[in-house]
């Protein structure tokens, strides 16, 4: 992760100058708009399909080289592409990303675990994070996602993915929930289910927002801050009460700050910290259009028209104009993907995370000798809070029994 630090300085300088001195460190590759979900919060499946071939991706990744650290293969439903493992293999060979993130709806339960296993084999030194979408529990999930039987299939997929955990140390299995007006009243139920039943490595919740990419502009799916605030505070409370080790401690500290940014963005309707979309982060649409972000989804150029040279597409006049517009604050959003890069490139946020992580590490070292059985569980994030409480109770019981 430390290899990102020199790139941050390049990103900050690029932002200040309004010209890219380097290629983005965070890339989202939308591999297809095809999707077998019919979510109430998304219309991406209606978009025409003109997907890049594996050869086109290979040329593109070759042009990017070792610039990008964080890759997200999204969609549509990315696992619908049979050649997803080959795409990841190509990205790994040319770019060697530190993190590869893949969301999935989990519908193809007989196919997804095997396909993800091939992804894990294709990128052995990258941290591969697969996030299963969960927008409700049981039938409620099916209703929001528009597919009968989706929940049962998603649970089968989850079990299949969980089985990979023992074999692949580079695999993180997460759950991702989009909170909209359609399911906000169900959040507590979803949260308890994830924490007590699924117990994933990580849990992230994102607010449903209007995006040009998803054709959700004008839909009004975003819940009001009065209702979303308690949800965020519940998530933050979970983060703050749990104890983490190593990289988890850093990611959770960023996550806590991300939720603060979301709250303020919704209230103040402006960029809370500078947005480096178009500098530090970018998205490639399935047809090769390069975007600064999926919220605006405005093409700065098409890779097919630039001989698959990302750098050439990234340095167009249109790209400069979009960078100017973003820097001028002509847009704002709580998009998680871009927000994490923004926080990484925002010195005050980075400093406060470093301070918190440093304090936490020192405290853990100091209290290491006083930890009991529950300490074993602490390498897992948020959702083990209940287990920790139970373990702590058991410990106390044992202590009392010993005294008696």
């Amino acid at each position: 992760m430390l290899e990102v630090l020199p790139k941050i300085a390049q990103m900050q300088a690029s932002y200040a100058l309004g010209k890219p001195l380097a290629l983005p460190l965070n890339l989202t590759i939308s591999v297809s708009y095809r999707c077998n979900s019919r979510c109430k919060t998304c219309n991406v499946w209606q978009r025409p399909n003109d997907d890049f071939t594996i050869e086109e991706y290979d040329k593109t990744f070759a042009s990017i080289g070792r610039a990008a650290y964080w890759f997200t293969f999204s969609g549509g439903e990315p696992t619908l592409r049979k050649d997803l493992p080959e795409m990841v293999e190509s990205a790994y060979r040319h770019c060697r990303p530190g993190i590869i993130n893949i969301p999935t709806n989990g519908i193809q339960d007989k196919i997804i675990p095997a396909r993800i296993e091939r992804v894990l084999q294709a990128a052995p030194t990258s941290d591969v994070i697969v996030n299963l979408s969960l927008d409700g529990v049981g039938e409620k999930h099916d209703i929001v996602r528009g597919v009968k039987g989706n929940f049962v299939r998603a649970m089968r997929t989850y079990a299949g993915l969980k089985a990979l955990k023992g074999r692949y140390k580079n695999f993180t299995l997460g759950v991702h929930t989009v909170i909209s007006n359609f399911n906000i009243d169900e959040f507590e139920n979803i949260y308890s289910f994830v924490r007590d039943e699924l117990q994933p490595d990580s849990f992230i919740s994102e607010i449903a927002e209007e995006r040009v990419e998803l054709d959700t502009v004008g839909m009004g799916i975003t819940p009001p801050i009065q209702k979303y605030q308690p949800v965020i505070e519940r998530l933050q409370d979970g983060i703050r009460k749990a104890e983490f080790n190593g990289v988890s401690r850093i990611t959770q500290a960023f996550r806590d700050r991300y939720y603060d940014i979301v709250k303020r963005t919704l209230v103040e309707q402006r960029q809370i910290i500078p947005c480096l979309a178009g500098v530090a982060s970018a998205q490639i649409a399935p047809n090769g259009d390069v975007w600064t972000c999926c919220i605006r989804a405005e093409s700065v150029g098409n890779l097919r028209e630039h001989d698959y040279d990302f750098g050439s597409t990234w340095r167009t006049a249109k790209a400069d104009e979009l960078r100017r517009s973003i820097k001028a604050g002509e847009c704002y959003c709580p998009l998680a993907n871009a927000s994490y890069t923004n926080m990484l490139c925002h010195t005050p946020t980075l400093a406060s995370v470093a301070l918190e992580v440093g304090k936490g590490t020192a405290f853990s070292m100091f209290t290491a000798n006083h930890q009991g059985k529950s300490a074993k569980l602490r390498s897992l994030p948020v959702i083990n809070a209940a287990d920790e409480a139970r373990a702590a109770q058991d410990e106390k019981k044992e202590e009392i029994e010993a005294i008696i």
Binding site: K40, W45, P48, V217
Partner: protein, 91 residues
């Protein structure tokens, strides 16, 4: 002509997004009523106040290279043709 269930704007029958509020019309006919009821229950205005930069960007899609294809597809097949292979590069 088709009336937008959200804002009442009169749209061409083959329009993908409402010319008034930009809402995706297929979605609006499926889900607007339910969402409007939920918004009302949450003490929100029935129609959202979408950010102006989003409305402007969304409008640009109507002039994009696939706009004609999509209109024709919706006109001919509803949305059964969604996801079909089509070139998005302008000649």
């Amino acid at each position: 002509m088709t009336e937008c269930p959200q804002c009442g704007f009169m749209n061409e029958d083959d329009a993908k997004n409402c010319g008034g509020c930009r809402v995706n019309l297929y979605w609006a006919f499926q889900h607007y009523e339910e969402l409007a009821a939920l918004r009302q229950a949450n003490k929100l205005a029935p129609s959202p106040a979408s950010a102006s930069f989003l409305l402007e960007t969304s409008k640009k899609i109507d002039d994009g290279p696939t706009a004609g294809w999509l209109r024709n597809t919706i006109k001919k097949y509803g949305l059964k043709g969604a996801g079909k292979k089509v070139s998005t590069i302008t000649e």
